[in-house]
């Protein structure tokens, strides 16, 4: 806490003794700006993927289908039985038999409009809406097998799993990328700070000889690099945010139909410059103490 106060308040005498490190400081600015840009973009991607996974999971988890393939003479009896069973099952909200005409529409893209529906032996389809946590799927399936052997319950798990997995995979990839960005930022800033410290070796030696404590020397460098990194990151993040907002939501082509930040998610891009400052603070301190350990 005291560190933070010192950092914000600054120390003119400590800063004056270190010459302005123009080149390395600008490197820090550029590097942290670029990294923040990437971080915000990837955050948007990761959060959108996460949201999409939730949407898919919810939407598909709330519905199922019962398919009944039976000879025409027993079909209606089985459909009635299935509807009966479903109406008695807790967790089932509503049921709807999909009429043959609607099935024909679903099949039209594959077989054309002039499909002779009546000539086909179409299975009966019952759309089931679940409510709450949904029914006990295993129990329901067993009961259907016993009482309406031609009925097959599809709870959409088959469809859902790969899509949700893909979205979750994307989210994990985004998190991994953010971790890598943090590491690269830390390394870059540590390198820039090391270069600045090495270039000022003479200054550091003299300061130690006249009785400067390590923290006096460290403070000047740490403050400079932390502020530079925060400033660069703020700029990079801002540019990325503007671009993220401007990207049109193209539901049909985008990996995710809802790209960007929503609601509380806005806190994350705002945290990016803060994270850059924290990373720069520790990276510079690390570099400074390493350099000082070589000076008596």
């Amino acid at each position: 806490m005291k560190f933070l106060l010192d950092l914000l308040r600054g120390d003119s005498s400590a800063e004056k003794v270190v010459p302005p490190t123009g080149f390395t400081a600008n490197l820090t600015l550029i590097a942290s700006g670029a990294m923040a840009f990437l971080a915000v973009f990837i955050l948007a991607l990761g959060l959108s993927a996460g949201r999409q996974a939730d949407v898919w999971e919810d939407a598909l988890a709330q519905t199922g289908t019962v398919r009944i393939s039976a000879p025409a003479d027993t079909l209606d009896a089985q459909v009635t039985r299935v509807l009966e069973i479903l109406s008695q099952t807790p967790g089932v909200g509503g049921t709807r038999r999909i009429p043959n005409e609607e099935q024909a529409e679903l099949l039209a893209p594959w077989f054309g409009d002039d499909l002779p529906i009546d000539a086909l032996l179409l299975p009966a389809l019952i759309e089931v809406e679940f409510e709450g946590g949904g029914p006990d799927m295993v129990g329901l399936k067993q009961r259907l097998v016993a009482e309406a052997p031609a009925a097959v319950l599809d709870d959409h798990d088959r469809w859902r799993a790969p899509m949700v997995n893909a979205a979750n995979g994307l989210r994990r990839l985004a998190n991994l990328s953010l971790g890598l960005i943090a590491i690269v930022t830390a390394v870059t800033i540590a390198l820039a700070a090391s270069a600045a410290l090495a270039a000022n070796g003479q200054v550091i030696d003299v300061l130690r000889l006249v009785g400067a404590e390590d923290r006096f020397i460290t403070r000047a460098f740490v403050r400079r690099f932390t502020l530079r990194a925060a400033g660069g990151a703020a700029m990079g993040a801002l540019i990325a945010l503007v671009l993220v907002v401007l990207v049109p939501n193209v539901a049909d082509v985008a990996v995710t139909s809802d790209f960007g930040f929503r609601g509380l998610n806005w806190i994350w891009p705002i945290m990016v410059p803060v994270a850059a400052a924290v990373i720069a603070f520790f990276a510079t301190r690390f570099a400074a103490f390493r350099r000082l350990s070589e000076v008596s």
């Binding site: 004056k16 010459p19 003299v206 300061l207 000889l209 009785g211 404590e213 008596s296």
Partner: protein
């Protein structure tokens, strides 16, 4: 006395016990034992390359002895942590042979450096600074940068920096190496004056006439570094 309160032993402000120093296998000196008693005045002489500068660097912990113990104000310098070393150095003013300035700071800022690094506002020492700069004859060069100074001017600035904090001990490594006789005498007078205020002085020099000058004004002893040993040659000079 101030020194007593801050834990100085009676034996010395700076004490060396059986100190040996070697650089990469070559032994420069060994079995060096002496104490700079608080308020004493010592010269350190010896041929070029004998190790005078090395010995002085051992005293304030810039170098670590290969063997033996170096005590500053009663504390073993090898056992001090880094902050303690910094604190110890604030009590020792050093005139380095190569002066050691920060080249982008003005002469005045360099002289005030020992105060700046303590976190005190250097403005408190402004009056002190003006007097000191006048004393070493650098008042007109205060705002110049160190690389713009002549060798003698650099040495005088280094001396001003060494004493600005009014340290307990002053270690001066050839402070008169690049100045004319008149300025040498002025620098000597400043050291003598500091000694009369109770400061402990160690001055490395080749200049025998300077030592003779001092002898008539202050009770100084001479440490002579020769053949890898230090001998006390107080009486015969």
């Amino acid at each position: 006395m101030r020194q007593k309160r801050r834990g100085m032993t009676d034996t010395g402000a700076i004490e060396l016990y059986s100190v040996a120093m070697d650089y990469g296998g070559r032994t420069l000196f060994r079995d060096v034992t002496f104490a700079l008693k608080p308020g004493s005045f010592h010269f350190l002489t010896g041929p070029s390359g004998a190790g005078k500068t090395t010995l002085i660097k051992l005293c304030y912990g810039e170098l670590t002895a290969s063997e033996g113990r170096v005590l500053a104000f009663g504390e073993d310098t090898t056992h001090m942590d880094r902050d303690a070393i910094a604190q110890m150095r604030r009590r020792i003013g050093v005139v380095h042979q190569d002066c050691r300035f920060i080249d982008h700071l003005s002469v005045a800022e360099n002289v005030l450096l020992p105060i700046s690094v303590t976190g005190q506002a250097p403005s408190d020492a402004e009056a002190n600074l003006a007097e000191l700069m006048g004393w070493v004859g650098l008042e007109s060069l205060s705002n110049h940068l160190p690389p713009e100074l002549s060798g003698g001017e650099r040495q005088r600035a280094a001396l001003a920096r060494a004493v600005i904090m009014s340290p307990d001990v002053v270690l001066a490594d050839e402070p008169t190496g690049n100045v004319d006789w008149e300025m040498s005498l002025r620098i000597l007078s400043l050291l003598i004056e500091l000694n009369k205020l109770g400061k402990t002085i160690l001055c490395a020099t080749h200049d025998m006439s300077l030592i003779r000058q001092a002898k008539s004004r202050v009770s100084a002893r001479v440490l002579r570094l020769r053949d890898g040993r230090v001998e006390l040659a107080g009486a015969e000079l």
